[in-house]
Subunit: 430 residues, 2 copies
């Protein structure tokens, strides 16, 4: 049986999952594919640590460059992460015409153009299914199954850490900081959680999805990003009373030749399938013009689900090479019509607003007057009676409103004497 | 730009969707693929009927064989359906080395071995993504994304007609026959609904899924099939009171080297994601040993969703041919370990049982004694007080029980004086 040599760069959590997956299911893959993936070596700076998987010591090396250059290596699996040596080694592999499988969303989101061009120049290919959604086939679906569709919209819960925190905040009524600390203790959140909770990880994934869906390469700086760090437990509670759950969503939408790409905490109706995605699970809902609504759900991270997708990509490359060439995709899936980013201020959503309003006649009238001047139409207002408190919480749900107008209105409202503190503003997607 | 010629056989609902998809998004596909799909002809016995799509009359022909033989045709899209001429034409295409895209689950489930062998012999390929789940990428996921996984289980809502009927029975408290008639009037059910409501369509799909998941070719006669025709509105209501919704599921499960493949109405917990799949939507939940739980959801039928998947398969074939060969998969995805079908009687599930029991002392004791003798352990019993009725409904939920024992117990129970009519038995899957 034909064999293909695999080099593994990075022997961390996912790397150990890939090794274990090959050990456990390598025969099954060979039977299904008619060719066998064979691990030729594992490169890591730390060759001592126990990864919970037994490997022949002869496979371990600290010299990634030599492993990449090994003529018995056909496919390089990059699981180092980050934008430093991962980029160097990926370039090295591609320059030698060796295809790469990676889960590195940050690297591809920020240096994708350079790397995909390099791959094309050397008749190699980059597969990156595990970079978005872990075990969920969202990259594959956008590139292959949905290739005949114009993508109307895409809503993704793409960060397991955030979804875990939001689920516990909701279910246990806890504050963000308390859940974060506990998540860190349990290993569901990193010691430095910034990439996750501030939305950057989701934004990196959104950039990759926008590239596949719309053929645009967005600099990450152009994505509107808001994380979950400032989310108050009371807004989760109030949202629930209005029939919503709060999820950190990547939202991609197409309006003719303009697209929106944003990442923010979002209220979604409790009956929506995305609302029932809890804990570390991820899900992506895609609306294609032919296929209509589709949803993909599964574990968005973790050793084995990510390894499953990495090995699925390895299998694809093996099939490509059996057919005679590693390459199968165009370097840039440019859309037939050029699309460009919608100006951030022009984006329209419904909003949930919460204000602390002084409990005296005319207060609410000041608010509604400002909203009205900015063309923001109110769908519902809920002012709850609070005893013995100068300020009462007022919840306002708006109809579709322009982002710029809503921001301007919030600034005016924040300056009012009858309002205490900054108003809270959370987008709603139905 | 390189062009690939497409022959469309069958200008029905999905065929018209394919034509419209090519007209609307052909440029987009060409931009994404770097090659263009070009419709060379449409064969149908009825060339007059209006399909709601405008086509150049020169494309229309009643001579499918000549169209298949046209040297400008590279890919044959078979959307005739059924096991008659569809088989003849598919064989003709494959014998000429032309690859086929089809949505024909019945043909592949019953004659797949012959057809896939023929494809292999002529260096052609059969793509059949649209044969299961319409716009849902379940075939693709099993063949590609999950290729490194042992499939532990698969639960599918695979028939939109049944799910539509069940959803309306539940939401409106209606009887099966009433909803069926209305569904027929509205075009959601065929004039002869047997294939759908009696579970055969779902069983054909289960056979294809079992082939991909386990490498086995099951004759349809070996699948345990039960449809929704005899489902009573009251069991849907009682199920709801116990926290369950009833769905027609294809269930595939692996127990070591034994697999189960069955189709039946199933009670699923209301909080389970499959329970929230309503109307004509389909969904498949797959448990892989590496990837864990994944779910795929979307429109399981209909003109445009099915056309989307057909065109996705056409795109795959085009990419294969650009790379030099139409073939990409092994003729038979045989599993590394041989698996065989679990004896039907040995299957274990939990059961919901409903009996009409005479309201007199000792009645329930007779029942529980019979269940006990068959090793069936009771999880809960609900006997509701009914005024002025000789027989009262008794609901029993069992723990895991063997099918053969449960059947035997039901037969004994049916013979009891204290029981009126046949007991109802519905499987529960958590």
């Amino acid at each position: 049986m034909k064999e293909f040599g695999i080099a593994l760069l990075g022997f961390g959590t996912v790397g150990a999952g890939v090794v274990e997956g090959l050990q456990r299911n390598g025969d099954l893959m060979a039977a299904r594919l008619g060719a066998r993936p064979v691990l030729r070596g594992i490169a890591d700076v730390d060759l001592k640590r126990d990864r919970g998987v037994t490997v022949d010591p002869v496979l371990l090396t600290a010299d990634a460059a030599a492993l990449i250059d090994d003529p018995r290596v056909d496919i390089v699996v990059e699981l180092i992460g980050g934008k430093g040596v991962a980029r160097t080694f990926m370039r090295r592999a591609l320059e030698r015409g060796k295809s790469v499988v990676t889960a590195n969303k940050a690297l591809l989101a920020e240096h994708g153009a350079e790397l995909f061009d390099l791959a094309a120049a050397h008749n190699a290919e980059i597969y990156f299914g595990a970079s978005v959604g872990g075990g969920i086939p969202i990259i594959r679906s956008l590139r292959e199954g949905l290739v005949a569709n114009r993508i109307e919209s895409l809503y993704g819960i793409l960060n397991g850490t955030c979804n875990y925190i939001l689920t516990r905040m909701e279910q246990e009524g806890l504050a963000f900081e308390d859940v974060l600390k506990d998540a860190q203790r349990q290993g569901y959140a990193e010691a430095d959680p910034t990439l996750d909770v501030d939305g950057y990880d989701t934004a990196h994934k959104a950039v990759l999805l926008a590239w596949l869906a719309y053929g645009v390469r967005l600099p990450i700086a152009e994505v509107s990003i808001e994380g979950i760090r400032n989310l108050a437990a009371e807004d989760i509670r109030y949202g629930a009373s209005l029939g919503y759950r709060i999820k950190l969503l990547a939202v991609l939408k197409r309006h003719g030749e303009r697209i929106e790409v944003r990442v923010h905490p979002t209220m979604v109706p409790r009956t929506h399938m995305l609302a029932s995605v809890s804990g570390v699970f991820n899900a992506v809902m895609v609306q294609g013009d032919l296929t209509g609504q589709t949803l993909y759900y599964g574990r968005g991270a973790g050793r084995e689900p990510t390894a499953s997708t990495v090995l699925g990509d390895v299998a694809d490359l093996m099939k490509n090479m059996v057919a005679g060439s590693a390459r199968r995709f165009r370097p840039d899936p440019t859309a037939a019509e050029p699309v460009s980013l919608l100006d951030r201020g022009e984006a329209q959503t419904r909003y949930y607003l919460r204000l602390a309003l002084r409990d005296r006649p005319g207060s609410l009238a000041c608010i509604t007057a400002i909203l009205g001047r900015h063309g923001i139409s109110i769908a519902s207002v809920l002012q709850q009676e609070v005893c013995a408190d100068e300020y009462v919480p007022v919840l306002i749900v708006t109809h579709l409103s322009r982002d710029s107008e809503c921001q301007a209105a919030m600034q005016e409202i924040a300056k009012l004497d009858v309002v205490s503190g900054d108003p809270v503003r959370i987008r709603i997607e139905e």
